[in-house]
Amino acid sequence: MSGPRLQRVADQDRRLIEITVDGWAMSAMEGDTLLVAILAQRSYLREASGEPQGEMPAAGFCLMGACQDCWVWHEDGRRVRACTTYAEPGMRIRTTWPDHLLAS
């Protein structure tokens, strides 16, 4: 599956904002959670990592901050739950752990 996972069905007349996800510019609507902002444009928060015991693909599960399936990271390394964090203009998000921080 590619393309949007979530379908907007109401309250779509909102201001558009720009965020950056994994280095790519992405537009979101004001009031979107990060999970909605990302999954209204693509199918996954994280794709499968490939290894048999690696990360499973993820797109969130409970949307109420309980299951912890939807972790994403600010580029400075702060971890947040995508389902309970609102997208804000200029936010820079990574959907995998920003291990580039270790290299520096």
Binding site: V9, Y44, M64
Partner: protein, 461 residues
């Protein structure tokens, strides 16, 4: 406490917590109301963000419950200046009479003289092969996506499980233009009809349930009674489900699944508080023990209200919030002459009957959990298979869930057993051939949800 007013904490700003706050505010107390969400209402009356462009009315958001939702919000606006409201704040630990609260990346200790826990509920999940595929969401998630964000969880959605909220959510999705691919219920039509008869004295509940069902039928949505979810199909994402009845399988194409077999109480804080738990054989869950007003067993300073103290639904939660506040004020000698508890006690008794009928209608057959195939992922955080737990029950003699957790890591992951704990206990008991209560319950551990280290480190007393 002489001189200074009692410091009263309410955890959770859903219907129970809000009604408790209202009672206390009107008696001149100024409770601290702590809630994880940015706006009040709890999960049931979840509000859209306060942002221009979210224009749906309460009727559009909450349907038949719009009046109740509206009244709660108006009540909150009225008492807002008289209480200490702390949104977006998580109580992640309780130590003696102190709540440890994380908010905006910092944590704080708040001491209390009395506390009302109104922590609510989440979906009861029964794993099936493929349930961890992207596109499978809890039923609660499906509702939150719609209410809070104006989104459907997919284009063609199968609603699988049980409970009145499943029919309501499917109906709301259909109304929003996302007509469900199918409704799959393990319960038989006959059990639903029998429960319907028990609801004859409650015409409002009966007729709304019937309306949802008829509306789905009218829209051509297949409603499959007595069908079990065999598996969710798909390699990297949901492509369909297989449902089965009496050996006959049926494939339903869909790109999303809303999964939930009713609700389970969120009891982690009650556990950390040292409240005594009792096994509720009807709900098949260990629950904090309370008296009829909500006074906790084993803690004189703690009260419970709402679905966190056993599922009775949103209307009863309001009554239970007031009853708990009433008990608290009585115990602390706070005057509040106007309130008469009788109507609320009646409402709770009525909700007990309604819930008993709902359980009879929707509770899945016991072997739906115990017969989960060995290769099914049971714990999605730690990726542990049902078969691994079964093997361990035989090999190491783990006859209790916390021992099984130590051996297998089941329930040790980042959701802390919220999703798998119930199924794990059922499977362990089923494998050992012993009753569910005898395998015990997963103990709550602080922090009850993951908190980043810097938040814990920056704690002010």
């Amino acid at each position: 406490m002489a001189g200074s007013p009692a410091r009263i904490l309410i955890i959770g700003a859903g219907p129970a917590g809000l009604r408790a706050a209202e009672m206390l505010a009107e008696a001149g107390c100024s409770p601290i109301l702590i809630d994880e969400a940015p706006r009040v209402g709890g999960q049931i009356y979840r509000q859209p963000p306060r942002v221009p462009g979210f224009t749906r009315t309460a009727s559009e958001l909450y349907g038949a419950a719009a009046d109740r939702a509206r009244d709660l919000f108006v009540t909150f606006d009225r008492i807002r200046q008289r209480i200490d409201y702390r949104p977006s704040s998580l109580v992640y630990d309780l130590i003696d009479n102190r709540a440890i609260v994380a908010s905006e990346g910092k944590s704080e200790e708040i001491a209390f003289d009395a506390m009302i826990l109104a922590t609510g509920a989440m979906d009861r999940i029964i794993p099936a092969p493929g349930w961890t595929l992207p596109g499978v969401y809890t039923l609660g998630a499906a509702q939150i996506a719609l209410k809070h964000q104006g989104c459907a969880i997919g284009k063609r959605i199968a609603f699988v499980g049980g409970g009145p909220l499943l029919l309501l959510a499917a109906h709301q999705y259909a109304k929003a233009g996302a007509v469900p691919a199918a409704i799959v219920l393990p319960s038989r039509f006959e059990s639903l009809a029998a429960a319907g008869l028990r609801l004859l004295p409650m015409p409002r509940e009966l007729s709304s349930g019937l309306l949802w069902l008829l509306d789905l039928k009218r829209r051509g949505v297949p409603v499959l009674f007595g069908h079990r979810l065999v598996k969710v199909k798909g390699a990297e994402s949901v492509t369909g489900i297989i449902a089965e009845r009496a050996g006959r399988q049926r494939v339903i194409a869909c790109d999303a699944v809303a999964l939930g077999y009713g609700l389970r109480s969120e009891t982690q804080l009650a556990d950390l508080a040292g409240i005594r738990f009792v096994f509720d054989a009807e709900r098949r869950q260990w629950l904090p023990e309370t008296d009829p007003l909500g006074r906790a067993a084993g803690r004189k300073d703690i009260y419970l209200a709402g679905d966190g103290a056993g599922i009775l639904g949103a209307d009863a939660a309001e009554a239970r919030g007031r009853l708990a506040a009433h008990a608290l004020m009585t115990d602390l000698g706070i005057a509040h002459e106007r309130y008469r508890p009788k109507p609320d006690k009646t409402a709770v008794a009525c909700a007990e009957r309604l819930q008993a009928a709902m359980r009879a209608a929707f509770d899945p057959p016991a072997d739906l959990v115990t017969a989960i195939p060995d290769e099914t992922i049971l714990c999605r955080c730690e990726r542990i298979l049902a078969g691994e737990l079964r093997a361990l029950a035989g090999l190491l003699g783990a006859r209790e869930v916390n021992r099984a957790k130590s051996f297998s890591r089941i329930g040790m992951g980042r959701c802390q057993g919220r999703l798998c704990g119930h199924a794990a206990a059922e499977i362990l008991a089923g494998k050992l051939g012993i009753s569910l209560d005898s395998v015990g319950r997963l103990r709550g551990q602080p922090p009850i949800k993951p908190v980043i280290v810097s938040t814990v480190a920056e704690r002010k007393a």
